[in-house]
């Protein structure tokens, strides 16, 4: 592990310890009360979910056309983090929505696109696990297609909703980006970097082990 890993891990741990205090002390939102606080977890994890998806897509394209195994490792680690942060987002979102606005789920653009993106990431992991030899390239192709798919999902769901308008109770953008939001975002971002590095390192070591096996009696 590189030198910066342990200090950053400690910092991240401290930030996680401090975060609940900040969240608890943040001003109450007028209509929703205590439930709104889940937003401080939901928004950062949604942003990291998006970031991880972009990292996975870009690394996949570079691997598919460049062949550098390091990009493949990054893509795989990022896909796992997409699933992880996606689960956090897709669970905290409905919990918040249910309490705040009375609905568990709405087929609006962002939710649908997020869900489909998450499904593609799960499909990516299933392909890597069960696809047999050569599944690294195939998964990279899937990630590329998943990335290309996002604008189409957006456009189609958007238009679908405009011609069948239902009351959209979910807020379009968070209103005030106070300090607690930035803090929790930084915390999650740090966690993302640490997890990514650790996972890539695991794959690197696996590759080194394979190379050792191969060189044993060449």
């Amino acid at each position: 592990m590189p030198k910066w890993f342990l200090p950053l891990a400690i910092v991240c741990g401290l930030m996680f310890a401090v975060a609940p205090i900040l969240i608890a002390n943040a001003p109450y939102e007028s209509t929703m009360g205590l439930v709104q606080k889940i937003f401080y977890v939901h928004l950062p994890s949604a942003l990291i979910f998006l970031l991880a998806a972009v990292v996975c897509g870009v690394a996949s394209v570079r691997y598919l056309f460049g062949g550098n195994p390091r990009h493949d490792r990054i893509a795989w680690a990022a896909a796992e983090l997409v699933v992880l942060f996606g689960i956090i987002t897709l669970v905290t979102g409905p919990l918040w929505a249910r309490k705040a606005w009375g609905v568990w789920w709405q087929w609006d653009v962002r939710l649908t696109a997020s869900l489909m993106g998450w499904m593609v990431a799960v499909a990516y992991l299933l392909l890597r696990k069960y696809g047999g030899p050569g599944s690294d390239k195939l998964a990279a192709g899937l990630a590329l297609f998943g990335m290309a798919n996002v604008p189409f999902i957006y456009i189609s769901v958007n238009y679908w909703r405009t011609i069948h308008p239902t009351t959209n109770v979910l807020p379009t953008l968070p209103v005030s980006m106070g300090f607690p939001v930035w803090f929790t975002f930084a915390t999650f971002f740090l966690l993302f970097i640490l997890l990514l590095r650790m996972r890539v390192r695991l794959e690197e070591q696996r590759a080194q082990l394979d190379a050792l096996y191969l060189s044993v009696d060449a």
Partner: protein, 258 residues
Amino acid sequence: MTPRLGSGQVDFDHLTVDDVSRHFGRRRAVSRITFQASRGTVLGLLGPNGAGKSTLLAMLATLLRPSGGHIRYGAHDAAAHGAALRASIGVLGHDLFLYPELTAQENLEFFAALYGVADPRRAALEALREAGLSDRAGDTVSSFSRGMRQRVALERALIHRPRLLLLDEPFTGLDDASAAALAARLKALKKDGAMVVLATHDLDLAEGLFDRAVFLRDGRMLAAIHRPAALRSTYREVMTRDPGAGRPGEGFGARLDE
């Protein structure tokens, strides 16, 4: 910078396999194989099952890329010029590469057209005549016996007059007459100037066929022997050798006279 290969410029006079390895994950299929061959020779890849013969053939056909080392046709690296090289390579695989639902003639015409042969229909009919199957031209391949299918498959591999012919276990399931016919055909091709690489573990049928034989076991090369005689006993002797000790046998690196 090597110039782009146009069709007809490919040099199949010399094949160089240079320290080639291929692994799948942790499994080493082929490990540091080195040999050379020239046009007008028949080279045998001999070894037990799992020795890496099929993998090596796939690499020679440019279907697989080596994990290490290089395969060169003339001055051109196989990995860089795959598509251009494939036009001059014919492969008779273990699974015959024929569409069972199509007739013999349709199969041959399809592949002839795919390889850019000038008059696919005439080439197909000629090939059927060569194989002695002109009367069965209109029958679907699924109705053929193994030996007949093998003959059609061989014609399929040769229909575009390749300069390099790769055969993977071609004697499987053949009776003596068919095997002898195949051996005679290969000798004729050799005289024509083609390069033939043949993988087999059928030593009796391959007797007297090879100008050079490369012996493989567990992906490693045990020996490369020039004009091996008494294949069976040679094979037995070579297989007892230790792969780690010493260099491969005589004839290594020497070019054959044309």
